[in-house]
């Protein structure tokens, strides 16, 4: 397991939060007067990961060049934590030619082959692909790992079960990371999931399952580090279920009428809590908090600028890139 770099993790979480907050602002800013999902500079669906930063940052702290991640429809935190270029990612979200995918994919289909990062809008379908990437690493004899990220609701999809079985039976270097944010859109976990624990399900598939209860980035760091070390050593797959927090709605525009605890979610925000604990340790000063925030502000503003000034693709480009 690598060294714990508290300041780096705090900085990364702030950076991600700033990104998600600004994208939320930008996304809504031009959909008036009557909110139209297809209107504005960022059209379509938007799923933001504010509150789930500890999951991405704690896991990605252990990843190196060549390690792969498949992420779901709520991918920004993992993308940024894994080194995907913020400018190119933002331009893609804005549907511009300077985007990662030249505007072809958008927010749910971000592909960065340099960083072996991809995401998909179909629930749980990134899990088998991550198994395949792990299989490739195994066949090539590298000690790279694949991280398969999905939600607690997605763990009821067939692909989840097939992937766990396949990974266990072939001893693949893949780590399944379940972000349990309590809500599959509007359906709470106890209404959808028998047995209530994906750590338990892992045991049923012949791999260790660990639950991290409190959205704490250092607890994620330790659990993920152990799991990744295990996979790199050739000891096979494992599953980490992280009880995390979805601060915003499932998608932007979600009024969350179904969510009774909505007015208390901000009390559970992991970033101020972590800042407080780092301050107590004497590892973070008020000046640093301010400067880290300012850096994040500047970087995100620059990315949005970059995106806005990137050209829109020509309509005829829609016919390109079907086949290599």
């Amino acid at each position: 397991m690598g060294e714990l770099d508290r300041l780096a993790m705090y900085r990364q979480m702030v950076r991600i939060r700033q990104y998600e907050s600004r994208i939320m602002q930008e996304y809504h800013s031009d959909k008036s007067p009557a909110w139209d999902i297809g209107a504005g500079l960022i059209p379509g669906e938007m799923h933001l990961a504010a509150g789930q930063e500890p999951a991405a940052v704690g896991v990605c702290a252990h990843l190196k060049k060549g390690d792969a991640i498949t992420a779901p429809h709520r991918p920004h935190h993992f993308a940024l934590a894994h080194g995907v270029d913020m400018n190119a990612m933002t331009a893609e979200i804005y549907g511009r030619t300077g985007g990662l995918c030249k505007g072809k994919g958008g927010h749910m289909h971000l592909f960065d082959p340099e960083n072996h990062f991809s995401c998909s809008g179909i629930i749980a379908q990134g899990l088998p692909v991550a198994c395949g990437q792990a299989m490739a690493f195994q066949r090539k004899g590298t000690d790279n790992v694949a991280i398969a990220v999905t939600g607690e609701g997605a763990a009821n999809q067939g692909a989840f079960h097939e992937s766990l079985n396949l990974a266990a039976v072939w001893n693949l270097p893949v780590i399944f990371v379940i972000e349990d944010n309590d809500w599959a859109i509007s359906v709470p976990k106890d209404a959808s999931t028998a047995g209530a624990s994906n750590a338990d399900r892992a045991a049923g598939y012949g791999m260790p399952g660990v639950r991290v209860e409190d959205n704490d980035v250092e607890a994620v760091f330790e659990a993920a580090g152990a799991a990744i070390d295990r996979a790199r050593a050739g000891d096979g797959p494992s599953l980490i279920e992280i009880h995390t927090l979805r601060l915003f709605g499932h998608f932007e525009g979600d009024a969350q009428a179904y969510r009774p605890e909505l007015d208390t979610v901000n009390d559970r925000d992991p970033i101020p809590k972590y800042a407080a604990s780092l301050q107590e340790l004497g590892e973070l000063s008020n000046d640093q908090i301010a400067s880290i925030q300012a850096e994040a502000d500047a970087e995100v503003d620059a990315a949005i600028e970059f995106a806005k000034s990137s050209p829109e693709p020509a309509p005829e480009d829609a016919l390109l890139h079907v086949f290599a």
Binding site: K104, F111, Q125, L127, P128, V129, A134, A136, L166, V322
Partner: protein, 339 residues
Amino acid sequence: MSTTTEARRITTAKAMAEGIGLEMRRDPNVFVMGEDVGAYGGIFGSTTDLFGEFGAERVIDTPISETGFIGAGIGAAVEGLRPVVELMFVDFYGVCMDQISNHMAKIHYESGGNVKVPMVLMTATGGGYSDAAQHSQCLWGTFAHLPGMKVVVPSNPYDAKGLMISAIQDDNPVMYMFHKGGQGLVWMEKNPRSIGDVPEESYTVPIGKAAIAKEGSDVTIVTLSLSVQHSLDVAEELEGEGISVEVVDLRSLVPLDTETVLESVGKTGRVLVVDEDYKSFGLTGEIAAVIAENDPGLLTKPFSRLAVPDVPIPYARPLEYGILPTRDKIKAAVKDLMS
């Protein structure tokens, strides 16, 4: 195409397996996975003798998890390997269609061309031996309809090998759809055209190029897969009756060689499309549209098609053969065009 050195007569199954084997020898990144592809050699012979040469390391038996192992094929391909994955029966597409059409076929496009998926998904199609509604379909129309994957459909041993080698060498995802009845299996009805001359060496058959299986001047049959074999049988017979039939073997549906089709139709003026897939909203309608939008004046007789009617495929032999595009029906349709 290279000079033919040695040719021997082998079955379609053996030919496609040979194509896979040659590529596996040439490129260590190629490997095979699917259900019973190992020691069994594939339920329909697609991997005959590969396990013996390459072993479990490169010819992998999977659990019954189509979404899982087809997805794994995609992930491996994305990382630079070249998997050949088998979907045992095309009819099983329902349990894994998301991985096929939303992932395998779309990743390259969604990534703006930055990510390649050099994968072959081979699958067994076709009826005629009473395997009923869930095990007898062709469905190439469905796969050809969805953007992002090439679709090849060999009709004979020579093309089976060449198309397989082309498919593996192609950097795109390729659906390789072979007909069970055309494999030359000893435990199915014998089709003499399922055994043929196949060179021992490696060679390619271009994807996206149809072949004139038989030249003729009176009627064009546009067809594919096992129906090519049936159409050739009919054409031979009709030759004796003074009707000259040209058989166009499509070989690929995506890309579709419309040029060859239009040239032949232009020559004969009469077209019959024979398709063992379902009639409506499929290949036969596609050919009609291609002709109509290019030059409907090419036709001197109305467009004619023979396909499986829009019914699930029944079990009892009289019922099944009541709906398949048999030689008798092909012959009758050609004669109709000539009347």
